[in-house]
């Protein structure tokens, strides 16, 4: 069994993102953004882009691997992978796939990327405009259940009801993200701090989500470079290793029309134990957490399902003080995340985890050795990853 792991076999040697824009404000089309992010990540790693031989993405990214490889003049394409599933559930899964390719000798240098221009291709927060609908969506759309916020609010309402969780827990998640964004010049919400009164006064989108519980809609692209761990020290950054990356979901998570048995869940109840098994550590070893915020309620359930607190401890544990770098008990979303940095479908959260291991975050947790990422709660499949410093090997 010892060989059946990704632990310590792959290193992240470069990360980058384009400028991040509010949706519709990118001067460049999506494919050009993808190219720019890949080139910047290669420059960050000191890698010749022609040596990239693999691409891994998720959520049906439109910037297809063969087109990227051709546009960048790569010498050959050895690996091209798309993680099934929508939303940001594949953020860490794409890393798992890319890392598996490197670890098993299928590819030498894999780019994990996500490019998304909602201005060019349509906003995620808008309902569909067709006259008729059939299939699973026919059982929800006619009732006005058609946006991501509306798909997930009922899960969160049930979870909050079952465990008597208060709105302040959601608010703390939002305030922490916005606070960290104020340190991050890349963040779209840099210079736009959020306080309790503004959160409380903000309009409902769908209860229990206020405006500030919801991710942004953005244009941009992000990328990271994976190579074999043996080569980690050949690159300019200090080594950052993939300690684990897994994806999946629990029994019948994909049952149609909101019939998944474990309904009030972010989807990590089987993924998180496998993640910790592979990483050979537990929640108490994690120095900093990046947890995908499509909506704060998904973060709340992700935190519970990754074992950082029990459901009945949420009201006490999820406070702004506990979630802030550098000294909170569990610094959360230290770049500002999807709420306040940019909604790059969560790949920005993985990049931020790597920067924490490098000591290069704008809200650095001193001496961070272990950073965990939970990707895309409430969709299926979801995924998680753990990154570690050399000392964790």
């Amino acid at each position: 069994m010892t060989d059946r792991t990704l632990r310590g076999k792959v290193a992240v040697v470069g990360v980058a993102e384009t400028e991040y824009y509010k949706w519709g404000q990118s001067p460049d089309p999506e494919f050009k953004l993808a190219i720019e992010a890949v080139l910047k990540a290669c420059a960050d790693a000191g890698v010749d882009p022609r040596d990239v031989d693999g691409f891994s993405s998720y959520s049906n990214d439109r910037s297809e691997a063969s087109r990227l490889s051709a546009a960048l003049g790569c010498r050959e394409l050895s690996f091209a992978s798309m993680q099934w599933g929508g939303g940001g559930g594949g953020g860490s899964g794409a890393i798992a796939n890319g890392a598996a390719a490197v670890a098993t000798g299928q590819a030498e240098c894999v780019i994990v990327f996500r490019a998304l221009a909602q201005g060019q291709f349509g906003r995620f927060g808008q309902g569909p405009r067709m006259k008729t609908v059939s299939g699973p969506a026919a059982h929800t759309l006619p009732f006005g259940l058609m946006s991501a916020a509306q798909m997930f609010a009922m899960k969160v309402n049930r979870f909050m009801h079952d465990h008597d969780i208060h709105q302040e827990a959601l608010r703390a998640i939002s305030l922490a993200s916005y606070a960290h964004a104020q340190n991050n010049p890349r963040a779209v919400m840099h210079g736009r701090p959020l306080d309790e009164a503004t959160y409380d006064a903000s309009r409902w989108i769908v209860e229990p989500f206020h405006l500030f519980d919801c991710c942004q809609e953005n244009d941009g692209a992000a990328a990271m470079v994976l190579v074999a761990a043996e080569r980690a020290k050949d690159f300019p950054h200090k080594p950052c290793y993939v300690l684990a990356a897994v994806s999946g979901s629990q029994h019948r998570a994909g049952a149609p029309v909101h019939n998944t048995p474990e309904y009030a869940s972010s989807g990590f109840t089987t993924v998180a134990p496998r993640l910790y098994d592979m990483a050979r550590l537990g929640p108490g070893d994690v120095d900093v957490l990046q947890s995908y915020e499509n909506f704060t309620g998904g973060v709340l359930m992700s935190i519970v399902e990754h074992g950082f607190c029990k459901p009945d401890e949420v009201n006490d544990f999820l406070t702004v003080d506990n979630l802030l770098a550098p000294s909170g008990k569990l610094p959360l979303n230290t770049s500002g995340g999807n709420l306040a940095e940019c909604y790059m479908h969560g790949l920005g959260l993985n990049i931020e985890a790597v920067r924490q291991i490098w000591g290069a975050s704008t809200s650095q947790v001193p001496g961070a050795d272990v950073a965990l990422v939970g990707s895309g709660p409430m969709v299926t499949p979801v995924s998680s990853s753990v990154f570690g410093s050399e000392g964790t090997l």
Partner: protein, 146 residues
């Protein structure tokens, strides 16, 4: 048409071209709630599948079950994401658990004051909302507090 809970103009449901859920929609038109039940193991399932997820039998039927359930979860929507709902104001979506059908769940609106209190576990009964005024005839199963 009768007054509908939501303003007209949302996508109208039509049966899947492959027929999988056609009996469900036909049933609603006749004010009957028909859901999938397995002839081999007698288990209910919803949404529709081609085989029973418990025993893998393809021998499934549509069987009537009472339109009576309890609120499993709920949400009150304030921000419209479709042009038809621009002037709607808040509205309520409920996920209803059907105890007479192995606890499978179905989505609908909760008729009544959109700002009424929403309490998980509240018993609700079905209300058949017929849409007849255009070429997209269909019936939605809505819910009211019992």
């Amino acid at each position: 048409m009768t007054d509908s809970y939501l303003r007209p103009g949302l996508p109208a449901p039509t049966p899947q071209p492959d027929g999988l859920d056609a009996p469900f929609w036909e049933g609603l038109g006749a004010q009957r709630l028909l859901l999938q039940r397995c002839n081999a193991c007698e288990g209910w399932q919803w949404g529709p599948e081609w085989c029973c997820h418990r025993c893998h039998s393809f021998d499934l039927r549509y069987e009537e079950t009472p339109a009576e359930g309890v609120i499993y979860s709920h949400e009150r929507v304030w921000h419209p994401v479709h042009p038809a709902l621009k002037e709607q104001g808040p509205y309520v979506i409920v996920l209803v658990e059907l105890p007479h059908a192995d606890g499978v769940r179905i989505v609908g609106n909760l008729i009544g004051d959109p700002e009424q209190p929403l309490i998980i576990g509240t018993p609700v009964v079905g209300y058949y909302e017929h849409h007849t005024d255009d070429d997209m005839r269909h019936t939605l199963l809505q819910w009211v507090v019992a």
